[in-house]
Amino acid sequence: MSDGLIRAAHDVLIVGGGGAGLRAAIAIAETNPQLDVAVISKVYPMRSHTVSAEGGAAGVIADDDSIDEHIYDTISGSDWLGDQDAIEAFVNEAPRELLQLEHWGCPWSRQPNGHVAVRAFGGMKKKRTWFAADKTGFHMLHSLFQTTLKYREVTRHDEWFVTKLLVDDGRVHGVVAVDLFSGKIQAITAKSVVLCTGGCGKVFPFTTNANINTGDGMSLAYRAGAPLKDMEFVQYHPTGLPFTGILITEATRAEGGWLLNKDGYRYLQDYDLGKPTPTPELRSMELGPRDRLSQAFVHEVEKGRTADSPWGPIVHLDLRHLGADLIDTKLPFVRELCLKYERIDPVHELIPVRPVVHYMMGGVHTDIDGATPLAGLYAAGETACVSINGANRLGSNSLPECLVFGARAGRAAAEFATTAGPVPAAIEAQAADEVRRLERDLLGKDSEGESTSAIRDEMQATMEDAAGIYRTGPAIAKGLDTLRELQERIGKVGIADTSRSFNTELLAALELANMLDIGECMLQSALQREESRGAHQRTDFPDRDDQRFLTHQLVHRNDDGTPRVESLPVTITRWPPGERVYGR
């Protein structure tokens, strides 16, 4: 192979170094130390967005809890769109994964007797959410990252941005990527590839997500021919800080916080979520599921019962009755964030909050072992859709999902790599084409072209209008038209930065192209799902329609770049579709 074009050759290449990616890497290193495994990521692993998760990770461990109850909570939370075989596997394996992380040093909060403590969480009938105060994701990520340092066989390509999956004869053989440090564009080959690139909240203007959450893995898979699944389901978290969109964890409500409208009234009682009680009731009121709470906010706005802020309507999260001791022990990060970014102290003052885009239920379609329909390609974490989250994810299910399916995808990818043949020569030509495309279309471009940030702003505004908490057919269709115009415009984007090293302007343009693909998939799926289920609420189709839509929607990419939606049955095992009941 020609020198300079191929940077490295691995057995398994993991794209993304967050919770799922690092768990996959360790799983491979432990199950087959002979394999050459590498993690490639556009940021250093400890910068990955797992770091921002606050509240906790669900896994059945308490004596009064049971596997079946966690399964049922997850299924009903998903509005029966989650695959029940996947959910069963997930719930069964989550406690072992969380214990494994305990053995790897995660500083879980403890009971006085030394056992791991669990807290309540939204939509969960029992206390089963493990937590490390309110920096759970941070501690999990750093424990995983530091543990990977033990495995010298795990190679890392830090700060490399993957632009393309190399596919030949229906099989993935590696990637082409930009080394941000030097600006070099090179291929890295692998017998199997695991996508663990996280979510895509940046498709929207107001999100808890970090700057890096641009759905890169979803777009890579989609363009390579692997379908995306259930892309219409976008989770709005009910409590984000206005302006910044910084997440205020659901754990605030699990510890007893209240949501109040401008009249100081616990408004959730008006939305079939139960009756207010002084101490938190599980699966009731403030501990209802996120989709229902965010929807209730919209109704409060319509009734004129929300307060005003420079950034639109808000409600209040009241933690004052919890006291400084509890807040400092269990929610110290929340206090720190409020003091820093709102200049208020939640011990004495109300926290202004509003719903904010938080999580993508959809993602790359995989089976229960993280395998996509494209041979050699795997996915896990928020990038993937197995699906356990269906139409609405329960809080604290996503962190264990990264662990359970990260490990499963890693093992499956390792197994595939041991049986796969050598990388075909055709890959080299394909890689050279991609290098040429990037150099000619982007780096060699007229700097006077379209502005990346202008297109991004328009895309984000379009997505908020078309795919908000409540949606209508005509608005979605209009949004799709706008996105197609933006797809044209991004072809003419200008890059003024001519430097190769750390060209973040190039990076932003590539990320924006990824996000436009994802936005189109979301809107196309949303348009075709003519019902209301979980996080997908159509005012023109207000009811759940199990007759027509108890199905996943797979989005394939047509040759002309447009999305094509097909349906796939939901796996139902022991829990037939029923009514979602909270607070009664």
């Binding site: 490295a8 190679t155 890392r156 390509h157 080394d179 440090f181 030097s182 090293s501």
Partner: protein, 134 residues
């Protein structure tokens, strides 16, 4: 294991100025604290010379006192006393960081550790004073 790369880009290494310690108050205090050690050494030497002369003879003791009263020795001793005070204050205030004192499982507050050192200093000084003046 991460991939090596520093050789691929001409990174810029910023030289560190000789006067780096004048650019921040905290750096300056640090350098003064380090410098104070020289004066601690001076006092040790001064005291040893004092004890030595006392042990030799009355005349030697008087010579030492005369020498100690010369202006340049007085000036050095005044400066040394100031640096010694700085030495005491800075090191006492750093002790809580170096020692993890726990009382009944709870971390002892830094102020308590610092205060206890001053109490200790006062007790020892009082004892020495008593020893000398009785």
């Amino acid at each position: 294991m991460s991939t090596p790369r520093a050789t691929e880009v001409r990174v810029y290494n910023r030289p560190m100025s000789t006067w780096w310690w004048t650019r921040r108050r905290t750096y300056f205090v640090f350098v003064m604290r380090e410098l104070s050690s020289i004066f601690v050494a001076w006092f040790v030497g001064f005291l040893l010379a004092f004890v030595y002369s006392v042990g030799r003879s009355e005349a030697a003791y008087q010579d030492f006192l005369d020498w100690a009263a010369t202006p340049w020795v007085v000036v050095i001793n005044v400066i040394a006393a100031a640096f010694l005070a700085l030495h005491v204050v800075t090191w006492f205030s750093l002790t809580p960081q170096a020692m993890d004192v726990r009382i009944g499982g709870q971390k002892a507050p830094a102020a308590a550790i610092i205060a206890s050192q001053y109490v200790g200093l006062a007790v020892v000084s009082a004892f020495v004073l008593w020893l000398v003046t009785r």
